[in-house]
């Protein structure tokens, strides 16, 4: 693959152990949401119905699927049936298909476009389960996936490489239960696996079992993509608060335990995730095939908002316990645009018209409003063009002492801070260590830890006993206000999250220590030191 190739798309499989969880509806809504995201880019989203035994996803896209040119269009089962026949007829084809550029050969031999129903939603293409004619059921039951895999298994990877080269997101609606097709959909195809479940024993234990097996398979495979799993509780009934609370605790604990084991995590906390991610049961959607994202206004209690909450996390985060939730701006699209500068000429004309008319109080009010707006804009302009005043707090690093406490490297920093502004407390101390000699800059932000004991420290390669008393803690001292012109001196203690690091390495020339702290107004000051 050359560097000119766009990055491959992501395959996302939606799986539920039992039917009736709202899985296909979630796929249709995801397609609608993702389609909007990618509608202006060159690569769209693709949706595929792999629930071959009980296909139904096409119902959500009925207007396009039912068009005459699409009714007889073949689907997934027809594609693999045709591929199987070609591979059996042409002995050399398999070797070509599993070569580096095999996906291009595959697209030439069996053009994917012949199977695509384009634009079922803005930015979304669709491949249905198959051509729903009299032969469909027989074709599905006759196709032997185990035999196909044992003969031509690697060609499924070729198909995967083909679709991710053409689409930014590929959504799979998987078969339920433990079947051959659900194995392909959950073990071979996805990079992200959505386990849709309703709060009951069968549904929950089924998805927990499956995700453990799918992850174990990937871990022993030659597929080096991740397999991140996102649970999606569905049809949550808000009327039964007690049961809702009990089940929430139960499924959260089950997933936390499963993730700890699968990904070898010390801890896994899903409270924040499940606070936001749950699909409410809304009776309206129990009838027919409606796409909430398509129809509904997104208010706080709506199903479309619940989907949005989930899809944002699904796309932005690597895994559900990822704490980068701040990066996920759920309200991004809901915010109205605010125009701060109306047409001043037009407004002035309107005010002149009011003064000339009979509505004098309105004219006075409008004039005052215009004056306030102009003053506000002038103030804003001055703020923009005048440089920000320097922070009132400045500081100096007096000493840096690296040490180790119970296998954890730590750094003690003696800092003096001068306040040139009004009395203020000092807070939000943080330390960043930067290596300026390496090609890549390494930085580690460390949260300060309060003192609670007197510690021995290393100095000049030897153990000395520098006594740092708790009352010398900078944090403790600066919780009191520092007066104008006053200087405070104290120690900060930072633990370094690199357990085996030799503390002497923190003395190496070329390291840069950046200590930052903030005053009551939140203005941040920085002190830079070379660590020597």
């Amino acid at each position: 693959m050359t560097t000119e190739e766009p990055p491959p798309g992501t395959i996302i499989t939606f799986y539920s152990y039992k039917g009736g969880t709202g899985r296909s509806m979630a796929v249709a809504n995801a397609a609608c949401w993702l389609g909007r995201k990618v509608s202006t880019s060159s690569r769209k989203a693709l949706v595929m119905d792999w629930d071959l035994e009980a296909p139904g996803l096409h119902r959500f896209f009925a207007p396009q699927v039912d068009r005459p040119e699409n009714v007889a269009r073949p689907g997934i089962i027809n594609y693999f049936d045709a591929l199987h026949k070609k591979l059996k007829q042409n002995e050399g084809l398999y070797a070509e298909l599993v070569s580096e550029w095999g996906w291009k050969v595959l697209d030439r031999e069996l053009p994917l476009d012949d199977y695509i129903i384009p634009n079922v939603l803005p930015g979304v293409d669709f491949i249905k389960a198959g051509e729903f004619n009299a032969a469909y059921t027989e074709l599905v039951s006759a196709f032997n996936w185990v035999e196909f895999y044992s003969q031509f298994g690697d060609v499924i990877e070729t198909f995967r490489l083909l679709i991710v080269s053409k689409y930014t997101y590929c959504l799979i609606d998987s078969r339920t239960g433990f079947t051959d097709i659900s194995g392909i959909c959950t073990m071979l195809m996805p990079e992200k696996l959505i386990t849709v479940f309703t709060p009951n024993h069968q549904s929950l234990s089924g998805v927990i079992d499956l995700l453990a097996r799918a992850a174990a398979y990937r871990r022993a495979s030659n597929d080096f993509r991740p397999l991140s799993v996102f649970p999606l509780p569905s049809r949550i009934e808000n009327a039964e608060l007690g049961l809702k609370k009990d089940w929430r605790a139960r499924y959260q604990a089950e997933f936390e335990g499963a993730f700890r084991h699968i990904y070898q995590l010390e801890k896994c906390e899903l409270s924040d995730y499940f606070d936001e991610v749950q699909l409410p049961h809304i009776a309206y959607y129990a009838y027919g095939e409606s796409i909430a994202m398509h129809e509904e206004r997104s208010d706080a209690l709506s199903l479309s908002r619940a989907y949005e909450n989930f899809f944002q996390r699904l796309i932005e985060l690597d895994f559900p316990w990822d704490k980068r939730v701040a990066a996920v701006d759920i309200q991004e699209e809901a915010q109205p645009e605010v125009t701060l500068v109306p047409n001043p000429g037009g407004l002035a004309h309107e005010i002149k018209r009011l003064w000339q008319g009979s509505s004098r109080p309105v004219a006075v009010f409008a004039t005052l409003t215009l004056a306030a707006v102009v003053a506000f804009l002038l103030y804003g302009l001055l703020r923009v063009i005048s440089p920000a005043p320097p922070p009132n707090l400045s500081g100096k690093v007096e000493q840096i002492v690296p040490t180790r406490v119970r296998d954890t490297p730590e750094v003690f920093i003696q800092l003096s801070v001068v306040n040139n502004g009004p009395p203020t407390t000092v807070s939000n101390y943080s330390l960043q260590i930067t290596s300026i000699n390496s090609r890549e800059v390494d930085s580690k932000e460390i949260t300060p830890v309060e003192f609670n004991e007197v510690l021995p420290v290393f100095r000049s390669g030897a153990l000395e006993s520098i006594t740092v008393y708790p009352q010398e803690s900078m944090i403790r001292q600066t919780t009191q206000k520092v007066g104008t012109g006053q200087t405070t001196r104290g120690w900060l203690r930072f633990s370094i999250p690199v357990p085996m690091l030799d503390p002497q390495a923190l003395r190496r020339p070329g390291l840069r220590y950046v200590v930052s702290f903030a005053d009551d107004t939140g203005k941040v000051s920085y002190v830079v030191h070379d660590g020597s």
Binding site: L161, P497, D502, L511
Partner: protein, 215 residues
């Protein structure tokens, strides 16, 4: 056991150009190259806390027109250690270069650190394999297979950094041991092996992805 400026200078004078050589199998998509780049970057970043200008060799940046075989053989000989990104395909005869690189570094390690407890190869398990070759089983490995399942940005996690710290600690120990043995590179005398370290390894076909049949 940090690499002091004195040790670092001695290693340079003795012909060591790279602190580590990354060995991995080429596959038909970019997933494993990406992993190799992340490991390279993480090792360099971590080493940068204790030495200036750490250098980790990865063959993805060999300029066009270079005799790549010569470049790889030279780079391997001029490396203190080798990190092998291990998975089933690493041992497979179709990826013979991996087995040759393993055999080459194993030979270099034995000659540079005779009788030492250290091997100069650090296996980093990216994917688990039920029939791991004897040569790999004998060496203490570091497992990142579960971590790399987490998501595309697994390399930003604390757990990944901790594993890389283990790798770097081992690189530092080996570097110090090589310097204390005064073992120079002596690449003029180095002969690249012709037999893979995994020539007697029997591949086990991965189970089919069907529930009930999987491993």
């Amino acid at each position: 056991m940090a690499i002091t400026p004195g040790i670092e200078q001695w290693l340079k004078d003795a012909g060591y150009e790279y602190h580590c050589f990354i060995s991995y199998p080429r596959i038909r998509n970019n997933d494993l190259v990406e992993c190799a780049k992340r490991v390279q970057e993480a090792i360099e970043n971590d080493l940068a806390l204790s030495i200036n200008n750490p250098s980790v060799f990865l063959d993805d940046s060999i300029p066009g027109g270079t005799l790549w075989e010569t470049k790889i053989v030279t780079a391997l000989c001029r490396s203190l250690t080798m990190v092998a990104l291990c998975a089933g395909i690493y041992y497979h005869p179709a990826h013979r270069w991996c087995g040759l690189e393993w055999a080459a570094m194993d030979g270099l390690g034995k000659s540079r650190l005779p009788g030492s407890e250290f091997r100069t190869i650090i296996p980093l398990i990216v994917r688990e394999e039920s029939s791991t070759p004897e040569a790999v089983l004998k060496t203490q490995w570091i497992d990142i297979s579960r971590l790399t399942l987490q998501g595309r940005r697994y390399y930003t996690t604390k757990e990944f950094r901790l594993r890389i710290r283990e790798v770097v600690t081992q690189i530092e120990r080996i570097a110090v041991a090589i310097a204390s043995q005064q073992a120079k590179t002596d690449c003029q005398q180095f002969k690249f092996p012709s037999t893979s370290a995994f020539s007697d390894w029997l591949s086990v076909k991965q189970a089919a992805p069907f529930y009930g049949n999987e491993r």
